[in-house]
Amino acid sequence: MHLSPDEMIYWQRGFFKLNATLAFTWVLMFVMAVGSKLITRRLSTAIKRSRWQNFLEIVITGIVRQIKDVGLPHPRLYLAFLGTLFLFVATASLCTVFPFYKPPTGSLSTTAALALCVFVAVPLFGIRRQGLARYLATYMEPTFIMLPFNLISEASRTLALAIRLFGNMMSGEMIIGILLTITPFIFPIVMTVLGLLTGMVQAYIFSILAAVYIAAATHVHHPARKAVPQT
């Protein structure tokens, strides 16, 4: 029983191993990049537009609205990073309907890499918005004593992001694999549908949590202002 697609090695030479994680990640990237290039080749702003362009617009405006709801005032700045996170994890889990496909997010390497991207991106966005000195000062909030706790919480929430996504994807696959040996016919299909649902929810959770962390890092503290009486 494979614990993760890292163990399914297709080809290796010396140090480099082409395992299922790498192969399926590149296939996903290729499909998403080529697909979106084909769809956006002829964009139309008229009423009549292609079905795929409509679909992409629904997805993008939905993501922008969610980012704005989380509390980030200029969603377009963060749309590239957060949208990519959501689309990659969602596509990786949606493609489980195809046979012989193993989601690359079912491997701890992929989820750790995504979590590390968030870990690096949050200070970058915070520094870009607030400046280095003010961002580093937020680690001392609310008091000086909280500095080690803030640092530990940064590391632990990155770890939690990786393990949460990995655990959900791996457990979905493992349940289906185990059920196939016990009750072959209808029940594994039900569990596959459940796996699709949890995959989409986990994609949403991953990107919303990344958005919340970025919002916390870019939150500019306004000093308390005295209310100006309106005359």
């Binding site: 614990l3 969610q66 709801d69 393990i163 949460r164 655990g167 493992m174 949403y204 959770i205 919303i208």
Partner: protein, 93 residues
């Protein structure tokens, strides 16, 4: 009981206990969260988008504790380093 049997017995028993205990508390917490969310949805239905989104984020945070226990159980059963070490030792002998 030699060390190989001990490792096997302890791994199997602990894998079961980890999942058993590790799913009680998250399930109760999630039940409480959903109950509170339903109450506030009934009181303010027009905030349903915010409430639903916050509910899902909270459920994911609670669920991750259960996922940690599940991952530990899976490691104990399928990728147990102590078992692999002992097997490698007996295979090498």
């Amino acid at each position: 009981m030699d060390s190989m049997t001990t490792i096997a017995v302890v791994s199997i028993v602990l894998a079961g206990i980890t999942t058993a205990f590790g799913s009680i508390a998250p399930a109760m917490g999630e039940g409480k969260a959903v109950a509170t969310a339903l109450t506030s949805l009934a009181q303010q239905p027009d905030a349903s988008a915010t409430i639903t989104r916050t509910l899902f984020v909270g459920l994911a945070m609670i669920e991750s504790v259960a996922i940690y226990c599940f991952v530990i159980s899976m490691i104990l059963i399928f990728a147990n380093p102590f078992w692999n070490h002992v097997i490698a030792q007996t295979a090498g002998k």
